[in-house]
Symmetry: C2
Subunit: 194 residues, 2 copies
DNA sequence: AGCAATACTTGTCATTTGGCAAGTGCATCA
DNA sequence: TGATGCACTTGCCAAATGACAAGTATTGCT
C-alpha cells in the first residue's frame, strides 16, 4: 500500500471532511503513474477519472482550427486534474490532458465517485465546494482575458505561480496567456529593460 | 398570486424534478420586477439572490482598470441570473448586473435555496446540474476567446442568439466578444461586402 | 416639433500583434 | 563527440486593433 497522506491532507484541507472519513474516501482512490508526455486524456474521449495530482506537472490543451495547440490549463502538484465538462456531462472531451513531467497521482472513476457522494454527505459537500472553486477561478481567468493586457497576465502569473516557469515551456505558457510565443518573448524583453 | 408557470416549466425542464415538487419549490420564489437600467447587483455587494428571469434582458459587466465597462454576461428570458462566485463563496461580487429592459423575474435567497437543497434531494441535484451547465458554457466561452477570431465569435453569436442583437447595444456586445465597438463595426462592414 | 441623448459608423493614425524565418544556446543520445 | 531536436529569442514585414474624433441616424422626452 502506497502512502496516501498527501491525498488525505487534500481531502481535509477544506475543513468539510474529518480525518477519519478522509481516510475512508482515500482508500477508494488507486495510484496512477504517468510517464513524461503521456496522455491522461485525449480529445474525443470521456474524462472518466477524477485525478488528484500528487507529484509532477500536467497541462490541458485544445486544438485551434488552425491546428495550433492552445493551453487551457496548467496543473501543479496538489491539484485535481480532469475535464469537468466531459466528466460531469458524460460527453466526449474537447480537450487533451498530458503529463509534462513524470507524474504520481491518485484516481477514482466517475461511478465510484458518485457512489461515495451518495454515501457520504460530507464528501458530496466537498465535491460541490471544489466545483464552485473551479468555477470561480475560471471566471477570474475569463475576466483577466478581457480586462487585462497580456503583460499584466504574465506578471500576475509570475507573481502568484513562479514555479510554473520552471516546469512549463514558455510556448505553452504563452498560449495560456492568450498570445503567441514571440509576443511573450517581446513582453519579457520589454520587462528586462525596466 | 402571480402566474409562475414559466418558473415551474424551467424547474421541470431537466427532467430531474417532478411537476409536483417543482410547484412546491416555485412557491418559495417571490416575484421581483426591475425597471430598465435598474441594478440587480452592484460591484462590492453580495450576490444573495438566485434569480430566474421570466421576461426582459439583463447584462453582467465588470469595470476594467481603464474604467471601461466590460460585458461578462448577457441574460435573456428563461435564464438564471446571479453571480456564481459571489453567491456560492459568500464574497463581494466583482461584477455588476443591470436590467437592459423592464424585467419580470422570480427570486430566492441563498439561505432559502440552501434550505430547499437540504430538504429536497431532487432539487439539490437540479442545482448541481445547473452549476455544471454554467461551468461548461463558461469553458466553451473561454476556449472561443483563445481559439477563435472576434469575427468568428461574432458570427457564432449571430447564428445562435440573433435575438441578442435586437436587445443589447453593439457596444456592449463588442466588449462581450473581446473587442472595441469600432472594431466590431469594422467586422460588420467587412461581412456586408461579403 | 424641437432638443438632447444615445447608438452606430467611419476616418486617420499609432501601436500591437502575428507570421515567418533565422539564429543562439542547451540538452539528449548513439 | 557530433548530430539532432527543442526552447527561446529576434528581426522584418504585413495585418489587426485601439484611441480619438467627427459624423449620421435614431430614439426618447417635454
Amino acid at each position: 500500500m502506497q502512502d496516501n497522506s498527501a491525498l488525505i491532507h487534500f481531502l481535509c484541507a477544506t475543513g468539510i471532511i474529518s480525518a477519519t472519513i478522509a481516510a475512508e474516501i482515500a482508500q477508494a482512490f488507486r495510484p496512477m503513474d504517468f510517464a513524461k508526455d503521456a496522455f491522461v486524456l485525449r480529445e474525443g474521449q470521456l474524462s472518466d477519472t477524477y485525478l488528484f495530482l500528487e507529484q509532477g506537472w500536467m497541462r490541458g490543451f485544445a486544438l485551434a482550427p488552425s491546428g495550433d495547440e492552445v493551453t487551457t490549463g496548467i496543473f501543479r502538484p496538489g491539484q485535481v486534474v480532469f475535464e469537468a465538462s466531459s466528466f460531469f456531462q458524460r460527453q466526449p472531451s474537447m480537450e487533451n490532458i498530458q503529463a509534462l513531467t513524470p507524474c504520481q497521482a491518485w484516481g477514482i472513476s466517475f461511478a465510484q465517485l458518485n457512489h461515495l457522494f451518495h454515501a457520504l454527505p460530507e464528501f458530496r459537500e466537498f465535491g460541490r465546494s471544489r466545483l464552485v472553486m473551479g468555477f470561480a477561478s475560471l471566471k477570474a481567468r475569463m475576466l483577466s482575458m478581457v480586462t487585462q493586457t497580456a503583460e499584466q497576465r504574465y506578471l500576475s502569473l509570475l507573481q502568484h505561480h513562479p514555479e510554473i516557469f520552471q516546469n512549463v515551456p514558455l510556448k505553452q505558457i504563452a498560449s495560456y496567456l492568450g498570445v503567441t510565443d514571440s509576443s511573450l518573448s517581446r513582453i519579457r524583453r520589454e520587462l528586462m529593460n525596466h
